[in-house]
Each structure stands twice: as structure tokens, then as C-alpha cells.
């Protein structure tokens, strides 16, 4: 697997897992508008995951659901389960979209036209997720629970982001302390967050019960 393919798989896994986590708000979000928003966002993220899996493999369902839990390249940031904590849920959306925008920009400049084309398509949809994040960030920026959630999740964000983007993300969020390499290592891709095994179990249950079931 090339470096680009590893990056694409990491992005697809992030989008799949975050889509799954965001969909946990369907039906129980604090207001009806957010119920609708989180359902749509989840649907988009999972759609992005599928399109990237299709680029990487002729059998995208197998790639999405037939791997063992340790083979997933998702970041811990997206694996954490936050329901019913709205402050951390919104902090994750804001942080994630910032890093996702930076890595999409680089993919849009890829020499591989299929990668650049798909990244441009995804970016047009993500623009609406960024607006949603911006609205909430402005609304909660003085709210102590939100401020503390952003601080708490920042090390997870850097561990998720490409090293080339660390500088930009630190400038954007101005954390009180910049996480050390030891902290980042503890959160790096390939090691999984608490709750991941349970989520994997739920995500892959249909494929494991009915081998070959199509998405």
C-alpha cells in the first residue's frame, strides 16, 4: 500500500466512524434542527467513506466491514463516544472539520486525477459541515464546558491531523499547552480509543451475521 493509499484509507475510516458516531444523535439531539443536521452530516460522512473505499477497492463493503478491529486506521478523535455530551460533540465537529479541510486541500492538488476529483467533490459537501461548525463555535465560544472540551480534545486532533498541518491547527485554536510528542504517541492512529471494540462490533454485526451482505 502506497503512502497516498494509507492516507486515503485513514480518511475513509475517519469519515465512516465519525458518521457512525454523529448518527447516534438521530432522534435525541437537543433540538429538532440538530436532529436533522446530525442525520444529514452523518449520511454525508458515510457517503464520503464509501466513495473513498470504492476508489481503493473493487469490494468496498469488504474493505469497510470485513477488517478486524485493529486493522482500522481511524483516529481516536472520531472513535470516542460522546452521547449525551453536546459540548464535546460540537467540539469534535469543530476540530475535525478544521483538520479535514486542510488534508482535503492537499488531496485536491493531487497528481492523480481520480483522487483530486473526488477530493474536490467531497470538499463542496464539507463546506456545509464547516458552516454548521462555525455557527456552533460562535455560539459556544464563551461557554466553559465547550472551552474545556476543545482543550481536552486538542491532543486527539493533532494525533489525527497530518504533521504538516499541526502548525496551522495550533495557530487556529491557540491551545493553552501544546501537546508533547509523548501525548501524541498515546493517541496515534493504529491504537484505538475506549469504546472502539463496542462500536466495531455494532458496525460489522450485519456483515458478520450475513457474510457478503451489501451496504
Amino acid at each position: 500500500m502506497s503512502g497516498l493509499e494509507r492516507l486515503l484509507l485513514a480518511i475513509a475510516d475517519d469519515e465512516l466512524v465519525l458518521g457512525w458516531r454523529d448518527s447516534e444523535w438521530t432522534g435525541i439531539a437537543p433540538v429538532l434542527e440538530e436532529d436533522v443536521a446530525f442525520s444529514s452530516i452523518a449520511q454525508n460522512e458515510i457517503g464520503h467513506a464509501r466513495a473513498i473505499y470504492e476508489l481503493l477497492s473493487a469490494d468496498s463493503d469488504a474493505l469497510a466491514f470485513d477488517r478486524s478491529p485493529e486493522e482500522y486506521r481511524s483516529s481516536q478523535l472520531v472513535e470516542l463516544r460522546f452521547v449525551p455530551d453536546w459540548a464535546r460533540t460540537i467540539a469534535r465537529r469543530v476540530l475535525y472539520e478544521a483538520a479535514d479541510e486542510l488534508r482535503l486541500r492537499r488531496l485536491m492538488a493531487s497528481e492523480d486525477p481520480a483522487v483530486a476529483g473526488l477530493a474536490a467533490k467531497i470538499d463542496r459537501e464539507e463546506a456545509y459541515h464547516r458552516m454548521h461548525a462555525e455557527l456552533w463555535h460562535d455560539r459556544l465560544r464563551e461557554e466553559p464546558r465547550y472551552v474545556s472540551a476543545v482543550g481536552q480534545l486538542f491532543p486527539y486532533l493533532l494525533a489525527m491531523a497530518e504533521p504538516d498541518d499541526h502548525h496551522a491547527l495550533i495557530a487556529l485554536f491557540e491551545p493553552k499547552t501544546v501537546p508533547s510528542n509523548t501525548v501524541l504517541l498515546a493517541h496515534e492512529r493504529g491504537s484505538h480509543a475506549e469504546g472502539w471494540a463496542e462500536l466495531w462490533n455494532e458496525m460489522t454485526e450485519v456483515r458478520r451475521s450475513v457474510p457478503g451482505a451489501a451496504w
Binding site: E33, A37, S40, Q43, H48, A114, E125, A127, M131, L135
Partner: protein
Amino acid sequence: MVTAEAVWSALAEVEDPEIPVVSLVDLGVVRDVQVDGERVHVEFTPTFLGCPALEVMRDRMAEAIEGLGGEADVEVVADDSWSTDRITPEGREKLRAAGFAPPAPREAAAPKLVQLQSQAFRCPYCGSTDTRLENIFGPTPCRSIRYCAGCRQPFEQFKTI
């Protein structure tokens, strides 16, 4: 003998699964049709990647082609070649008449929040531009919810992609 023209006409009859007032040709998602003997190759560009209607669209296009006696080969091209600018003028008018405000033209950069919060969007019912953003997201990924202060009704606004 199947002709490309007959295929285009047949696809112009295939309704969008979620907004049946427009056809797939009105939506501009059919990028190309190539006929080689019985084999009909269609290039299809998805609207939103997570749209649950995509599979239904693909199946309905294949059925329409098979109805002409052709052998359907529908290729999904997941790149940025489809945008809401590809919705035809007829398609936009059909959307508006059905109560969906057609999308604003696409610009070089993706839209920003300030644009959605501006009053540059027209109510499909009364034509007023005194409208405000209620929710970026709506009943499907492709629509937002706005409110018209002119006729005091909410309406669905197509997102620009």
C-alpha cells in the same frame, strides 16, 4: 437498434426518486451516453455522495435502457463534474413550481456562511427576497430550510454544490 437519442429520451422520463417533478436529465446527472450495438454505456455523476437515492437512480436508468432492448452499463463517476449549475433551466423551473427554491449559481470557492445568511435567496411561493436561513440542513442532504418573512412560510432551498 438502440440509438443514443432514444436513450436520452428514455432517461428524460426517469424521475428523481425523491423529487419526482424533475427527471434525471433535468438534474444534469447524466454526463454521457455511448451506444455500441446493444451495449449502452452511461456516465452518471452523483449529486451528494451520501444520497440514498443514488442506487435507485442507477437501477431506474438501467431499467429504462433495458426497456429499449439495450444492455445497460451505468458507470458512476465520483468527481466534481456535477454541480447544481448542471440542473437545466426547465429543471429549475419545475423545482420552483413545486416549492423548492433552485440553487444559487456556483462560485469558484465553496459557499460561506455569510452568503447563506444574506437575503439573496428568493421565496419560491411569493418571490420575496426577505428570507432567512433556518437550518443549513433539511430533509435530504441537498436542501436547506429558509423562512420567508414576506408570506410567512418556511421553504426548502437547494444547496449550491
